[in-house]
């Protein structure tokens, strides 16, 4: 079942790291500008800041989904971008990036979507067998149960509501063989009760396993209440990096200056970066 010893938390170090989105022009201002910070193995950190502050870019850079434009990223003391592609891909198997929009193929069943998170430690043969008859049903069931979704195990993903889909996306982390969870806006589609439950499940499971957890959050109150350490990002720069107990209202007001409506609650419509809508192919 859950093998705790195989998931030692990953250590993160960023040294003057700059990154820009691959679609951006090479002379466009970088989304992250010279960021230096370190996260110890097993630590839990919330990243907050107004829209466009570079929160998602930071997660993607740490997940090796974006090559740094300048500076260095070290994961467990190793520079992933100095590794050959095969070893880099192996390292990617040790981290779990959950994008804000859960990446679930609509026609897939929940059980398969969840078990897809186990692929990095499975052989191709095993993963094909798992498509014929799912392997690890109990593990998937347990992960869903922790997000109060156990009855959706055999449902198709496109029959789930937006909030249910988001929780399935989070439950994937519990199934993944990862030592670092990078979770982008885990609560954006959840009501307050569900949000509290989801964040408790995530932080609790990460603590049990010693997994390092980095989550971006729009809900500042949740971040301060549930995470021991808060990183404030503004315009791609580090605004503050403090234990949650030392974050004052003043810090938050300065972080969200000109974006006060986000501090109050809901993000403004149309500012979150969703993937482009699916295209229809006609031939």
């Amino acid at each position: 079942m859950l093998d705790l010893s195989s998931n030692p938390g990953l250590r993160i170090e960023l040294a003057a790291l700059a990154a820009r989105h691959p679609a951006a022009a090479s002379d466009a201002p970088a989304a992250l500008k010279s960021l230096t910070l370190a996260v110890a193995a097993g630590e839990q950190v919330a990243v907050i800041g107004p829209s466009g502050a570079g929160k998602t870019t930071l997660l993607q850079a740490i997940a090796c989904a974006l090559r740094p434009a300048a500076g260095r990223l070290l994961l467990d003391g190793e520079d992933p971008w100095s590794l050959p592609v095969a070893r880099l891909q192996h390292l990617r198997g040790r981290l779990f990036l959950a994008p804000q929009t859960p990446p679930l193929p609509p026609r897939q069943r929940t059980v398969t979507s969840l078990l897809a998170a186990r692929l990095p430690r499975q052989s191709l043969w095993t993963s094909l067998r798992s498509l014929v008859y799912p392997l690890g049903i109990d593990e998937a069931h347990e992960a869903l149960q922790r997000f109060d979704l156990a009855e959706k195990l055999w449902s198709r993903v496109d029959r789930l509501s937006g909030g249910e889909r988001q929780r399935v996306g989070l439950a994937r982390a519990l199934v993944a063989p990862a030592g670092l969870w990078l979770i982008d806006e885990p609560l954006s589609a959840l009501d307050p009760t569900r949000a509290a439950m989801a964040i408790d499940t995530l932080t609790g499971a990460a603590r049990e396993r010693g997994v390092t957890l980095l989550a971006t959050l729009h809900q500042v109150d949740v971040a301060v209440a549930r995470f021991p350490r808060i990183i404030g990002l503004r315009e791609g720069k580090l605004a503050f990096d403090l234990p949650a107990s030392e974050v004052t209202r003043d810090h938050l007001l300065r972080l969200y200056a000109q974006h006060e409506h986000e501090l109050a609650g809901a993000p403004p419509p149309g500012t979150d970066d969703r993937p482009p809508p699916p295209m229809i192919v006609c031939r």
């Binding site: 891909q89 981290l95 990446p103 193929p105 026609r107 398969t112 692929l119 094909l128 990862a178």
Partner: protein, 277 residues
């Protein structure tokens, strides 16, 4: 009253480009019409009307008779077999080529640009696909008739080669233009390419791929008719014999069978898409 010329900021900036490309398209079409000696009014001259009507009149009634229908049934079965075997072989070739050609499954392209070596390999596979499909199946059939002799085998091999080129190209394009959020997430989290294919690409694109494959199967049925003309067996061989003997009644029976076969393919596609939707 609104002013005749709106404020510059309110004018559609895409308009002049659209107009330019529409006119360019029209200008390119005209020399092509010349090149094809396109004179449709000839169709309606009395002499040509008479001869075509005479030919069509021979189509009625379609030929029946137990013996002929049994022969046609047997040849239709062979035609379906040629198309199906040809498609099966084409799929065997096309699927690995698609996996090699599509950029969606590139691990090195994840952070932005693809590495040089995988890029060159993908381009090489694309060129192989171009070569496979640019040789018409008729030419392949003529080649194989010389190698394996008259009969359906030549048709099967000809369809397999040309269609693998078409399938590989379109599959790769369907995958690249489709939604690939799930696939990228799997690759970013360390899955292998084939694992990402089976858990991300396939469930996302299954309906699109199936309907295109069945459409190609339908095309293969039609094209096996043409292949029959050069001796590659099936309904086509029967069709060319009847045409050469100006036996309109036989021709119309065979054409009716084609209509039925294409209808069946259409129905199958609709049903399968319902299942996969």
């Amino acid at each position: 009253m609104a002013p005749a010329t709106p404020h510059p900021a309110l004018r559609d900036p895409a308009w002049s480009g659209r107009l330019f490309w529409a006119l360019t398209g029209a200008a390119l079409l005209v020399p092509m019409l010349w090149a094809t000696e396109f004179r449709p009014w000839i169709l309606f001259e009395p002499a040509s009307l008479r001869s075509s009507l005479r030919f069509i009149a021979e189509f009625f009634p379609p030929k029946g008779g137990r013996e002929f229908l049994a022969l046609i049934a047997y040849e239709s079965w062979r035609t379906v077999a040629i198309a199906t075997c040809g498609m099966a072989l084409a799929l065997l070739l096309a699927i690995p080529l698609t996996l090699a050609a599509t950029a969606v499954l590139s691990v090195s392209a994840l952070p932005g640009r693809m590495n040089a070596l995988p890029f060159v390999l993908r381009q090489a596979v694309r060129w192989l696909l171009i070569v496979l499909r640019s040789v018409p199946e008729l030419v392949w059939a003529l080649v194989f008739v010389r190698v394996v002799g008259l009969g359906p085998t030549a048709g099967v091999l000809a369809i397999a080669l040309t269609y693998s080129g078409m399938l590989g190209k379109v599959y790769a394009e369907v995958l690249e233009s489709g939604e690939n959020h799930a696939t990228i997430a799997l690759l970013r989290n360390g899955s292998g390419r084939l694992q990402a294919f089976f858990y991300g690409v396939l469930p996302t694109n299954a309906a699109e791929l199936t309907s295109y494959t069945i459409y190609r199967w339908e095309c293969a049925i039609r094209s096996s008719a043409v292949l029959g003309f050069v001796g590659a067996g099936g309904l086509g061989q029967q069709l060319i014999t009847s045409l050469k003997m100006f036996n309109g009644a036989e021709v119309s029976t065979i054409l009716l069978v084609f209509v039925v076969l294409v209808g069946v393919a259409d129905w199958t596609s609709a049903k399968l898409r319902q299942v996969l939707a």
